[in-house]
Every structure is written in structure tokens, then in C-alpha cells.
Amino acid sequence: MKKINSILSLLVLVVIMIGCGGDGDRKKSGAMATNAAERVYVAPGEHDEFYGFFSGGFSGQMSVYGLPSGRLLKVMPVFSQDAEKGYGYNEGTKPMLNTSYGFIPWGDLHHVDISQTNGELDGRWVFTHENNTPRVARIDLNTFETGEILEIPNSAGNHSFAITENTEYLIAGTRFAIPSPQRDMSIEDMKGNFKGPLTFVKIDQETGGMELAFQVIMPGFNFDLAHPGRSASHGWMFATTYNSEEANTLLEVNASQNDKDFIVALNWKKIEEYVKNGGGTMMDAEYAHNVYNHNSSTATSTMKKGVKTVDPKDIPGAVFFMPIPKSPHGCDVDPTGEYIVGSGKLAAELTVFSFSKMIKAIEDKNYDGDAYGIPILKYEDILGGIVKQPGLGPLHTEFDGKGNAYTTFFISSEVVKWSLKDYQVIDRKPTYYSVGHLMIPGGNSRKPFGKYLVAMNKITKDRYLPTGPEMNHSAQLYDISGDKMELLLDFPTIGEPHYAAGIPADLIKQNSKKIYRLDENEHEHAVRNESETRVERKGNEVHVYMTMIRSHFAPDNIEGIKVGDKVYFHVTNLEQDFDVPHGFAMIGANTAELLIMPGATKTMLWEPKRIGVYPLYCTDFCSALHQEMQGYVRVSPAGSNPELKWSLDGD
């Protein structure tokens, strides 16, 4: 109870602080007082300087914003069904959401990371992960569509996530420790028996294809945030843990007892070598691997078995614990790779570890005991510095490439700029309200583009016109090019952004496809011109090979369908013109529309339930005669024997 009381009193203090500081700040920050409006204004028809890829959190999707305007450009479905695009509804994309638990329509998308080469953003892919049903995903930045989803077996609460500096590996940690392998056992017996596996996924440099490489079976702590080493510390990865108490109930109290938890430092190159030389053991596992073919608009889901596991005790010198105060959350590595910033959520200070000191301590074998056989380094030996009185509730840190770090403080609701040279606070600005993650384009790489900072807030309250009890989360854009940060813009975000990744638009925009080429369409049921359109019956399955072009379907009159049939509409958009999608909807279909880009084919299943004549139509206003883009399907009684007929304009 004492702890709760002290936290409560902290909160009261914070409320008072906000109450005092807030008003004065607002008066100063009017758009008329500065030229803030001008600096975020992107004139009609002009393009933003940066792409921002924002996690959608519990929406399961990722959204694309232009920065500095804060304009929403696109929502890309990843882990949740998206009726707008038919993702997870049409036959081609349903397999993307397949898992070892079966089809799952929803996911909790957390962190996002753009692929890197030599520690710099390269704009090939964006990777992300799902917290609830452990999965990782790749989005291809030529189509802005999800290209692959890989389930992570033997894990739960897939949270700590990072990409190594040449995109060699994607790291996926376990937040909710579990029995490994899973078994029927008493929850009370958690301590010492649960595990926190850290999974390494190998990335194919040509395709971005993901393959489960190995799992490091860590003690049953909760692995939270992860970041890769870079430059000097390349080959290492760092991840925070909380609940080193291994509590299984009322974690808000019971997991807040130890004065120090850990950051794990893991030499993955050493473990890779060990596995390459035959180390590790195979464990039973089952996981889905879903791959989307952009040329066929079709995904395949394959169930795979077994995972190579590694016991860290078997590889001396590969895994260490760095003690850090009070339930750390963020774990961020500066552009040089020397500094590892750990944020104890309940600590009054910000701890910065030194990589070179860590290496020295390891060489000197100067340990402070061990936890489950993993050496614990001495706090004083590896400490680089402490930022004193930085704020309350530090969460995440990004870097501007000019020797400064920016840390978010959830409880005191602010972002604080401090120097990596002397650990002195340089500036602090309020956020509205209770900031979680922050993002500087490239701020998690060797080469940050330190012009803007985006704060992603958890609480919105009065920032926008009220929309009932549920408000979209709010983000704030700051100019960080000067000594002091300047708030420029508020904009609402989708779901709950856990992190975002920004990149100069010039690194991506020229790769963005305008159409899918019809002559490269590999869909099993594609047709390339109207003369190939047809309707075929196979028992109670009817396959309609249909095309769409401004402004008609071919065929647009179909007869011979019966109640109880399974009708598959394979619809090809014959257009080869930029931004001329067509949609397809069928009355009574128990699924979403098809939204079909030029040159692509998509498949909808319709199971007619009543006799009659039913219209179909184009759902995406495509042309001056879009309204006329419609057709009819006749449905005859079950058991009847109608002739299969199809036509366009009587032909």
C-alpha cells in the first residue's frame, strides 16, 4: 500500500505541475506568435518531406502519414481484417491471418522499424510485430501492402522487437513469460519454471523473406523493449526486462518490488556462430508462415514445425544482465552505438550505460553474481552517466545525430532534450497528454534526420472537437532543428501508435508502383481480356471469370446459378492506368467488397440463399459512368437444372 500511496502522491504532484505550467505555455504557443502554421503547411499538390509509418496498436493496422503536414496518406492492413480493402475477407488474403490457432481477425500491432543497411535507413521494407498472437510482419514499400506474416511459436506477448543494422535479423521477445514448451501446470509455480524466449528471425536480403532462425530460452522475466547495437556495438542487442520478481499476480505491485531489474545484453553474432556449428536443440512447435504474392494477389499459409532453441548457459560470453533501476521500459541505443539509455518507469533518474565499459567489465569478468546462470554486470562498472531530475516516468529515447537525446515522460507528460556529452537537460516541452513513444526520422539508426520529432500521446481529452467517450489518440510534431524544441502541430492518429518510423520521402517514393502489370498477373483465375471471360460449373461450385474496365463488367448478365451454390467471382481489373481501381459488391455476400487495383485479380465467395435476380455493382467511383457499372445474376431454385449463361450487351 505504501508504494501505491507514493505513486498517487506523485500523480497529484504532476497534476499540480501541469496545472501551473500549462496555461502559461498555451498563451505563448499561439500560431500567430510564431510561424508554426507556415512550417507545417504543405501547399495543395505539394508533397511532404518525410513518410511516417505509424503503428496502429489495437487497430492491428499501420498508417502512413506525411510529415510535417500530419496528413493521413493511407492505412495499411496488417494483423486485422480491413473491410475497406477486403483484406482478410477475400479469398486471396484470408490466409494472411491464419495462425496455429486458426483464423484470427484481429491483432495488436506494436513497434515498427524500417529496414537498414550499414545502420542507415534504406527504405526497402517496414517490419512490425503483433503482441497478442505472437507474429511478425513485413510490408513491402513498392506496393505498401503486407507481404509476409510469420507466427512466433513458444512465445506470448510478443513485444521486444528490433531490426539489426544490416537487417540481418529481426528480434522478437516474450513479454508474458510462459511454460516452455507449453504444458498444464499450476500458475503459482511460475517462478523458475516459466521462460521468456527471445526469437531471432533471419531476413532474406533479396526478398525480405522471414525465416525462424533460433530462440534463446531466457529466464521467465518479461522482455519489454529492444534495440540493436549499431556501429561499435553491432552484433549485440539490448532489451529491457521487468518483473524480474517473476510475479504471477497483481503485477503492478508485485513486479515493482525489486530496486533493480535488468537490461539483457546479448551477443547475437556469438549465438549465430554457435547455432551454425550445430549448437542448440530442436523443440516441438507449430507455427503459420503466410506469404503474399503481389503478382497473384494471393497468399499461401504453410504450417511449419519445430524451432531451434538455445540455452544461454551453453554459450559463455554471449548473454549478460545489466542492472537498471525500477521496472525499465525503453532501451535505446544512440547513433554511435556507445550509449544505451535505459528508462526505469518508476525511477527518478535516467540511466545511460556505456558499451565500451560493458565490454571492459566482461573482459575483466567482474560480475555481481548471476541470475539463472547468466552473469550480472556491476551497475557502477558499466554506468556511462545519469540524467538527474529529468522528469517523471521516462519511457523512450530517440536521437538527433547532433549529440542530443530526447526522452518522453509519461507521468509528467513532456519530452525532454538532454545532451549525451554532459547528461544535462537542455530543454523540456509539454505534450498533450501523457506521451508514450516518440519518433525522429532515422532516430533509431546511425544517421538520424534531426529536423522533426513526433510525440505519440496516450491521452487526448480536450485536444480536438469531442467525439463521445472514445477519442482518437493524438500526436504532436515539434521542430527540433534549433536549441529549443518548438511545438508546431497536433494531429490525431489511428488506434494506439506504439512507435513509428520516419524516413525521407526521397528514399521511397520513386519505388512506389502505379499499377500491377496485367501481363505479370499470376492469379490462378485471372483473365487478360474480355474474350476470355466465362462462367464454369464444377458440381455446386460456380467460377465466374469476370473483368472490369471503365465502365462495365464482362459478363454483366449471368444465369444458371442455384440456391446452395458456392459462387466464386474471380474479378480482374483490366485497367493499366494509375489510380483507377474498381470495386465489386454482390448483394447478400457474407463478406466485404473486393477493391481491385489496375491489373490485379481478386476472388470473392458468394453463397446465394434465395431465388431471384440480384444486382452486382462497382463500389469505387471510377468514371463518369460509374453509376452504370452494374450487372445482374439470376438465382434459380436448388435442385433445378437451369442452363449456365453469361453475356455482355447480348454477346
Binding site: 499499377i515 474496365i549 471503365r550 485497367e575 493499366q576 492506368d577 494509375f578 463518369a624 459512368l625
Partner: protein, 205 residues
């Protein structure tokens, strides 16, 4: 006569550029087409500026009942023009050589120029006839049938030369590199004639 012959050879050889570069170009811009659709007209056929421009121009044109942009085998011109251009270039080069070796009078160069001019004008006339047919001979079942103030069907003929507004589209029709090389070549043959004449005069004095 040597200089004159060389210039005649060069000038007529420039016609061969028409086998590599487009003669003419028509672009169609509209609010919905900030990057205009465009077609390059070569002596042997019509190509889109971008890969799918012809298909997309046909797609737009179907609303007003225009015929599709012709393929090379659908217009005799695309078979005859290369022969005419190749023949004239060959003839001009031959005349240049003969002039170089003083076998013929420079007036032959002028004769070549006049013939080329006549053929050029005929070619432009034919091109204009095709544009007129393309812009006015429309499918009677056309989706959009528009008339002018006098009640006559409006013409969708793109301009032979220049810029013109056609409904939502702005059509630009201008010569391209092949044509400019031809014009330059023809001018050079005139220069060849003039220099040839002058050198003969100097000799005579």
C-alpha cells in the same frame, strides 16, 4: 562543289533520323491526368510516351466513340512513309556524291529539295485528313454525343500544330526531334545548292 556535295550528303542523311526519333507528338492533359497521356508518331507507327498511354487514350476516347489508335498494319502510311524517307535520303546522298565529283549541276540539289517539299506537304495533308477522320467519324452508339451551338456534332480533331482545348483535355500537337532533323536536313540541302551555285560562279569568273 566539294563543300556543297558534302553538305548535300549530310543534309539528306539527317532524314534517316526519322527512323529513330518521332516525327510528331500529341499530348493530352486534363485535371485527372496531371501527367499527360501522350503519343509519339513515328514514320512507321504510333507509340505511347509511357507504356500504357495508347491503351489509356483509347479508354478515354471510347466515351466519345472514337476509333482506336491505329496499329502500323492498319494504315498504309506506316508502310509507305519509311520507303519514301529511305528513298529520298538515298537519292539525296547519291546526288551529293555526284555533286562532290562534279558529275552534276547543283540545281539537282534544288530539284531534290522541291520534291521533298512537295512530298512533305502531301504527308502533312494526309496526316491532317487522318486527324480529321479520327476526330469526326465517331461511333453512332457513342456514350457522349455533344453538339456545338448550331447543333452540329462537335469535332474532337486534335490540332495539326499547336494547342487546343477539347472538352476536359488540353491537346498539344508539335513536331519532335525526327521532324526537326528533317527540317534541318532540308535546309542544309538548300545551303548545299546555294554554295554549289556560288562556287560554280566563282570558277566561271
Amino acid at each position: 562543289m566539294k563543300t556543297s556535295g558534302i553538305i548535300m550528303i549530310l543534309g539528306s542523311a539527317l532524314l534517316l533520323g526519322l527512323f529513330y526519333f518521332p516525327l510528331w507528338n500529341i499530348t493530352l492533359g486534363a485535371p485527372q491526368y496531371p501527367e499527360p497521356l501522350g503519343m509519339d508518331i513515328y514514320i512507321s507507327g504510333i507509340q505511347g510516351e509511357e507504356e500504357f498511354d495508347i491503351q489509356n487514350i483509347d479508354g478515354v476516347n471510347h466515351y466519345i466513340g472514337m476509333k482506336k489508335i491505329p496499329k502500323p498494319e492498319e494504315m498504309w502510311e506506316f508502310n509507305v512513309f519509311p520507303l519514301v524517307i529511305g528513298g529520298m535520303a538515298g537519292l539525296g546522298i547519291l546526288l551529293g556524291f555526284l555533286g562532290f565529283f562534279r558529275k552534276i549541276s547543283p540545281n539537282w540539289f534544288l530539284g531534290w529539295f522541291v520534291l521533298m517539299l512537295v512530298l512533305g506537304v502531301l504527308g502533312m495533308y494526309d496526316f491532317n485528313v487522318w486527324l480529321t477522320d479520327y476526330g469526326t467519324d465517331l461511333d453512332p452508339k457513342a456514350i457522349l454525343k455533344l453538339t456545338d451551338e448550331a447543333g452540329n456534332p462537335i469535332s474532337y480533331k486534335p490540332p495539326l500544330f499547336g494547342t487546343q482545348q477539347i472538352l476536359n483535355f488540353t491537346a498539344h500537337s508539335y513536331p519532335r526531334l525526327g521532324a526537326w532533323l528533317m527540317f534541318a536536313g532540308m535546309f542544309l540541302t538548300l545551303v548545299a545548292w546555294w554554295i554549289g551555285k556560288r562556287s560554280l560562279k566563282t570558277q566561271n569568273i
